[in-house]
């Protein structure tokens, strides 16, 4: 906790969603969306969080910001345990942490003008008077490379990429130090994705922002992140620097995931060796015993069914949860 370099520390975070049945709504089970994960995010870095649908990456992002209250575990932001905060105290902390959402069509209120959307956080937190806020809206729109005159228009008048810029301007309004980017480019066209990613990188340099970048696109995560955590079925299976992960992936799931990503180069495509996983991801309501990945793992042994592999540091800064990695 003394490490001043660490902005966010997640310690054994768990989020289960109860499954209710019957007229008395008895709990009959739980979807173990996030099941005991730990990681740090350093100041000014981008931590990429990758995994396939249903692996719990978005739930992690939301549980970190306390949009879902975690079932157990701790989230330290600047040394303060967010899970212990309530009401006004939590609200004050929220100024420092913001979120950019995946769907630029659903995350902007269609009945508010762009100006009202970007201004709202400032007014909610009583940080500016009406006229100051309007001035700030103009600055923010310029910051995300949009015409300040657009502040009187409505979201439906804009394209997906422009809407995502509006979402970014709203997230920046409170001058946060930490932003959770939850698949911010997945809904955009390829040529627009690069525009938004470049903008996010420029803003990070300009304001020293720290990002938790959630995505399923490994090539984009490799591009934007300093370190990457790979999730599978509610647990982090590997965490290391981006180059180490891509050059020397140790967990069999990371290896398979990397080899499944198509490369836009026919020569490289022909020459690469691929590991193709069989089967589908099991249900998080009833995950396999022991190692979560063992049902699809090409090298699983009996030990893998018996005990859950510990998430340990095998090399400096390289964490992996696998029995078979020495």
């Amino acid at each position: 906790m003394n490490d001043n370099n660490v902005l966010l520390r997640v310690d054994n975070l768990v989020k289960h969603f109860p499954i209710m049945r019957g007229i008395f709504q008895r709990q009959v089970g739980a979807v173990r969306a996030v099941d005991g994960i730990s990681f740090d995010v350093k100041r000014g870095e981008t931590l990429g969080l990758v995994g396939e649908s249903g692996c719990g990456k978005s739930t992690t992002g939301r549980a970190v910001l306390q949009l879902y209250r975690p079932t157990s575990g701790n989230v330290y932001f600047d040394g303060v345990d967010l899970t212990k905060l309530k009401g006004e105290e939590l609200r004050m902390m929220r100024r420092k942490m913001q979120m950019i959402f995946q769907d630029p069509y659903a995350s902007l209120n269609p009945r508010m003008t762009v100006g009202e959307i970007i201004r709202e956080p400032l007014l909610v937190h009583n940080l500016a008077s009406e006229s100051e806020a309007n001035e700030r809206v103009k600055q923010l729109l310029e910051l995300v490379r949009m015409n300040p005159a657009f502040s009187t228009r409505y979201p439906h008048e804009f394209s997906g990429g422009q809407r995502q810029r509006i979402g970014i301007a709203r997230a920046l309004a409170l001058q946060p130090s930490f932003i959770v980017c939850d698949e911010p480019i997945s809904a955009l066209d390829v040529s627009i994705q690069a525009q938004v990613v470049n903008l996010l990188e420029e803003l990070q340099e300009q304001f020293g922002l720290t990002y938790l970048f959630i995505a399923h696109d490994l090539s984009m995560v490799r591009h934007i992140s300093n370190r990457v955590a790979v999730m599978y079925l509610g647990v982090v299976v590997e965490l290391t620097s981006r180059d180490e992960l891509y050059l020397n992936p140790l967990h069999p799931y990371s290896q398979a995931l990397l080899s499944a990503v198509p490369i836009p180069d026919p020569v490289a495509e022909v020459n690469r060796k691929r590991t193709i996983l069989v089967g589908d991801v099991p249900s998080p309501a009833n995950p396999p015993s022991g190692c979560r990945f063992r049902t699809r793992c090409p090298i699983a042994q009996s030990l893998c069914a018996e005990s859950r592999p510990e998430f340990r540091e095998v090399k400096p800064g390289h964490f992996v949860a696998c029995h078979l990695v020495s």
Partner: protein, 329 residues
């Protein structure tokens, strides 16, 4: 020399909307050889899906209208056939796999019922024969316990398995041509790898031609032999796959390849970004559709729409500028 199985010439499709007439496809011509895999690449609204739907007679009319063009398949012009005649071709000689495996299967019919329908309709099999064949088809696409799964409903399958069922259905009558419209876009990468692998295997076993529509230049690189790039309802570049990636010649193709991060990238560079947004196509452009976003545009680009010209063996591009030399063509 393999034969041409599909020859599309000057296809033009429009849609009537409250905002005016949308020119979705503006004179598209291409050929497909027997057993060839053709990738069709472009962003949303570039006309790639509408082109294929037009060929198959699947454009709702109104509001859609095929203004002109021809599509020769097996000696007949698909655009001139009656709905009844087309129905005999679709599913039998040409079949299609769509993007969303959740909505393209009927949720209230069992998978077996849906698989046997085309077999009984097109191949005149009895129910019993069709059921046997259906089980074989499911086995072919690697679905375990195929026979038992025939009586299951689509919701009992995962997304990847549903797409396999769709592929099994599309291949059930041994078509000469399979049109796949973003078949892996809705799937996770590991499942996407399973599906593309499956398609490669089936292509070798069955020898059908494939048109693979996608926005993902990565998938096409590993799958297609030839690629067409579309923008604003036009084909703007066409080449063999290695040539296209090694020597992209249209500013849009160059931008598109440059804007992709690579999982095997070694140094961190800013991504190349194409500024601006794709055109709305509310009027047929008199200039190059890409000119407003193009860094190379010269005066001619604003006055005249470039035509697709050959610049090398099997490499055609629609651009007034030789981007490599920076001079007009």
């Amino acid at each position: 020399m393999p034969d041409t199985i599909l020859d599309v010439r000057g296809l033009e499709t429009t849609f009537k909307t409250p905002d005016g007439i949308v020119h979705a496809v503006n004179g598209v011509s291409f050929e497909l050889m027997e057993g060839e895999t053709l990738g069709v690449v472009g962003e949303s609204g570039c006309g790639k899906s509408v082109t294929m739907l037009s060929i198959l007679g699947l454009i709702p009319s109104p509001p859609g209208k095929i203004v002109s063009g021809s599509a020769m398949f097996d000696g007949r012009d698909l655009l001139k056939l009656s709905a009844e005649e087309l129905r005999h071709i679709r599913g039998a000689q040409i079949s299609m796999v769509f993007q969303d495996p959740m909505t393209s299967l009927n949720p209230v019919l069992t998978v077996g019922r849906q698989l046997t329908e085309p077999l009984m309709l097109h191949l005149a099999m009895t129910r019993k024969q069709a059921e046997e064949r259906a089980a074989e088809l499911l086995e072919m696409v690697n679905i375990p316990r195929a026979k038992e799964r025939l009586s299951d409903y689509p919701h009992q399958f995962s997304g990847g398995m549903r797409q396999r069922v769709m592929i099994a259905m599309a291949l059930s009558c041994s078509p000469q041509l399979l049109i796949a419209d973003e078949p892996t876009t809705a799937l996770d990468v590991t499942i996407q790898a399973q599906i593309t692998d499956l398609v490669k295997r089936l292509r070798e076993e069955l020898g059908m031609a494939i048109i693979w529509i996608t926005h993902d230049l990565g998938v096409v690189a590993g799958l297609a032999q030839r690629v067409i790039v579309m923008y604003g309802g036009y084909i703007i570049e066409e080449a063999r796959v290695n040539e296209l990636y090694a020597n992209p010649s249209h500013p849009y193709t160059i931008g598109l390849i440059g804007s992709l991060p690579r999982v095997d990238e070694t140094e961190h560079k800013r991504l190349f970004s194409i500024e601006g947004v794709p055109p709305l196509l509310l009027e047929k452009p008199v200039h190059c559709p890409f000119a407003p976003r193009c860094g190379w545009a010269i005066e001619r680009c604003w006055n005249e729409n470039p035509t697709l010209e050959s610049i090398g063996p099997e490499h055609r591009v629609a651009c007034w500028v030789d981007v490599k030399k920076g001079t007009p063509r």
